[in-house]
Symmetry: C2
């Protein structure tokens, strides 16, 4: 690694002269500036970020904690985070909590000591179900800001970026009701997650609101595991012969259901209308392609970065905000065409 000292030595000037010359300081003569820059280029000098960070007490680095990178939704958010960070001149250190409290806690401690200027994170499933928040509050108290996205801890006061899961499910359910569906089932593989609960509530609320809909809500808990899920969905579709609407609130059960239902002889969307929460990519793995609640995952990532950087660079204290990112209902082929 080539340092200022090296440049100074080869030129026979002092380190500070070199430092200033490289930043076009008016203190330094044109001549030296060009000489310094030349040799810097020649020796391929790169300032040591570490030293800079230590000096400036900021790292231009964001710690990102993702619960599950194999989940497309989170992968897309990471994509958005990376894009926006790069655009704003920040690097990201990515940690995966794998849905455990322990890893989440470790990452926070490991990085909240000057390694990063702030965090962007979604809390792990374990953290959420246990209701742990101490580690989060501690970090914030140490003046390392956190922006939470998607899965947020309600009793932690920090910036948040969420989706209006309640309304998304509400609207999706309404779409089915307006098609005249009489038995709409909700399939839930999200377990204890807050987003899952919100979606279930939205579904129930929609059913309640519409007098034309008379059946009781049917919420079926299924597994997260693909193979189990396949069987469970098949069972649901077989047993509920009169089911004519299906709301799948995770990424994959929608397409799976469509494929299974067709195999079992149901005609989609005529017999059965299906709406999922799948990503665009997944939704084309069935035919007809799955109608979905589209979540602007990339935007969630981008917005999170914006909020964090805003706080970091303007030293905003307090006044935390919660931003709700839009969703949209994308009707493709598994719902009736709208005229």
């Amino acid at each position: 690694m080539i340092t200022l000292k090296d440049l100074a030595a080869t030129l026979g000037v002092s380190v500070s002269t070199v430092s200033k010359a490289l930043k076009d300081s008016p203190e330094i003569s044109k001549d030296t500036i060009t000489r310094v820059k030349e040799i810097a280029k020649e020796l391929n000098y790169r300032p040591n970020t570490l030293a800079l960070s230590l000096k400036n007490r900021k790292t231009k680095t964001i710690g990102v904690i993702i619960p599950d990178i194999l989940n497309t939704f989170f992968a897309r958010i990471l994509y958005g985070i990376e894009q926006e960070s790069t655009a704003l001149g920040y690097n990201i250190i990515t940690c995966l909590s794998n849905e455990t409290f322990e890893k989440e806690n470790n990452s926070l401690h490991l990085l909240a000591n000057g390694s990063v200027d702030g965090f962007i994170m979604s809390v792990s499933e374990e953290t959420q179900s246990k209701g742990e928040v101490k580690h989060l509050k501690e970090t914030i108290n140490q003046d390392v800001p956190i922006v939470m996205f998607d899965r947020v801890a309600n009793d932690v006061d920090c910036d948040k970026v969420i989706i209006d899961d309640f309304n998304a499910a509400f609207k999706a359910t309404e779409t089915l009701i307006k098609e005249g569906r009489k038995k709409i089932v909700l399939v839930n593989s999200l377990g204890e997650l807050s987003v899952g609960k919100l979606r279930v509530l939205g579904y129930k609320k929609a059913l309640e609101k519409h007098d034309s809909y008379t059946a009781d809500p049917i919420v079926i808990e299924v597994d997260d595991d693909q193979e189990l899920l396949n069987d469970q969905l098949e069972k649901i579709i077989t047993e509920h012969k009169d089911m004519d609407g299906l709301l799948c609130i995770d990424n994959i059960s929608g397409v799976m259901s469509v494929n299974i239902a067709q195999r079992l002889g149901r005609t989609i969307p005529n017999d059965l209308s299906v709406i999922g929460f799948s990503s665009n990519k997944i939704s084309h793995l069935s035919y007809p392609p799955l109608s979905t609640v589209a979540q602007y995952a990339e935007e969630i990532g981008q917005e999170s970065v914006k909020m964090l950087v805003e706080r970091l660079e303007n030293k905003t204290k307090g006044n935390t905000k919660t931003v709700t990112i839009n969703y949209s209902i994308e009707l493709r082929g598994t719902t009736l065409p709208v005229s």
Copy 2:
């Protein structure tokens, strides 16, 4: 942020005493050690990693450059990288090149100045098609080692972790031939990527090798885009009425093909046998579930970390290795059952 200085001040001792006490130095009295540790815990002291890195001239951080995080294969590799890094006490800084040379190059420059001890990366599509290697060689010459995985630059001398794509495709094709298939088509959406080319070669080689197989190889280039792909696959399946074997060398065209073929009235696997290169997760999105060439993506990530850390900690110079990670053919429902 609380520093050694702070601890020293509150205890009325010197910084160096505190530093030594925290590492249980025999120079320091038992008494002071306990007092120091107590206060350190109380004030929640965390050593500043930046300062340590600057001092030690190593960061215990690995730069990871991923071409496309939305690609499940890469997401799984990242998962493996993160797991193993954590296990070995390293952090990762993740950069996404989005398949561009520019971002890849930037990331390399940005971090190869002391921010990371080494890199783990897969070269971007653009880098590969342009045959750019200068930035890679430069980094290595600056004594920042690189481990490349999956998509590697052949003319760069560094550690590599690859899959035997040629043989994987060869074996998959053989599986179809041994089922007695007479017209096996290969669908390629991988464009110019080296892995794609290798898979095509493996396919061709297998066809050649078996005298029982008499048809010419049929390689059909398709798009990467989901919607286009859907139409293109439909067209292929419609036009090649006598196709009885299909090898899909990317992550999704396999499941798509199965779903489309069934909709078009083909019986799978009797009429048509399909093998894909999909991840386990995706392969269950068709019914029957897709038979695949399973790639141990997590293992690729883990192995890459092991190789890099080995080089970093043992200061291995030269003697670069290439490790080939296993694949396995996982026969599920889209190929004939083996007796």
